[in-house]
Symmetry: C2
Subunit: 217 residues, 2 copies
């Protein structure tokens, strides 16, 4: 018998709003009032308020006297996020290599194969999902709660920019190759190498994003 875990409305509202803000459905500066959200989402203020408080804690919105102002992720935020990831994602890869189980290794292998598959089909949206799964899998496999809790939201917040970055075929091909190299290092138990490779991978992604999104001169 399968277990159906019912997700609370508050959680659903949070996930929807977080995603919508990150990808830009609600642009920076827009004011969200509880009443409007009640109408749009069809739930009462209670779960909406709980979601808003969490978004506020993530600095995706700011509370003002009247309504919540959407902040979203600016290019400056993006650069900071990538610098932070560059500094600590190596830690995650290191611990993941040390703590990975055979099942988890298999899962990571599958993600890599799916990447190849979707690359053939040029399915950008799925490829972004695979990027999500690859990185988040490493966070979780590390079994370090604090590292996981720190990196996961940061990675989610880059979604909008990653989606565009993947559009560059050269960068996409490089990224997939880098994932493979990281996977190989992890599967061979080379923790230091995995750490170095993922750090370089993030730096490459960062540089590509800066080149693409940050006006220069």
């Amino acid at each position: 018998m399968r277990e159906f875990k019912t997700v609370s409305l508050a959680d659903q509202v949070f996930e929807k709003l977080e995603s919508d803000i990150i990808v830009g459905v609600y642009p920076r500066g827009e004011v969200l009032t509880e009443l409007k959200l009640v109408e749009n989402l069809g739930v009462s203020r209670t779960p909406i308020r709980e979601a808003l408080r969490r978004l506020e804690q993530e600095r995706l919105i700011a509370d003002s006297a009247k309504g919540s102002v959407v902040l979203g992720i600016t290019v400056d935020d993006l650069i900071d996020i990538m610098e932070i990831r560059q500094s600590i994602e190596g830690l995650a890869a290191y611990h993941a290599t040390k703590n990975i189980t055979p099942d988890e290794l298999e899962e990571l292998r599958q993600i890599n194969e799916l990447q190849d598959f979707y690359y053939e089909k040029k399915d950008i949206e799925r490829l972004r999902q695979m990027d999500d799964r690859f990185h988040v899998a490493i966070y979780e496999i590390s079994k370090r709660n604090v590292i996981c809790d720190t990196l996961r939201p940061l990675h989610r917040k880059t979604q909008r920019y990653r989606r565009q970055s993947i559009g560059d075929d050269q960068r996409l091909a490089n990224s997939i190759a880098e994932h493979k190299a990281i996977f190989n290092a992890i599967s061979e138990g080379k923790a230091e190498l995995a750490s170095q490779l993922i750090t370089q991978h993030i730096e490459n992604a960062k540089n590509h994003m800066i080149e693409r999104f940050h006006y220069h001169g």
Copy 2:
């Protein structure tokens, strides 16, 4: 005329519960029910729920079918936190050195002087507060929201262990001296040096904590 910003009950409840959990008033494993908190804190369930959702997001509590289980900060969490801080607090110091204003420099100088003052008086609690203010000031002076938002909660979560760590007079003296060296580097505009010094400072603090709290052999 002074401006009185009224803090909402929800915020007050969050701050009190967060602090109580971090310092161990509520031990790991204890179950907090909304009704109990209503009685203890004298406010209704609405603000309490909003606070609990935020604590959950910080993984200080975990939601269970009946009540919220206190997780708090374990020694393993502490080690992860210090490793992360070691990796990114240098970034904060670097940006802070680049972006500091004269007023902010003066504030930092005052914190350092107060440290000497309270060290003379051996006022451990105030010294911990000064440690808070010194580090948080650097986060904020960096003017990097993401860095700030990442480091501030991590630093808060070390409070309980720092309080004990400060009890070791040798470590305390070293820590204050390290703060001074960091301050000097910042005031002289040496961003790279400030970054290196604060990284070393965190590593020293981490090693001291590991030695003190992590059972060895």
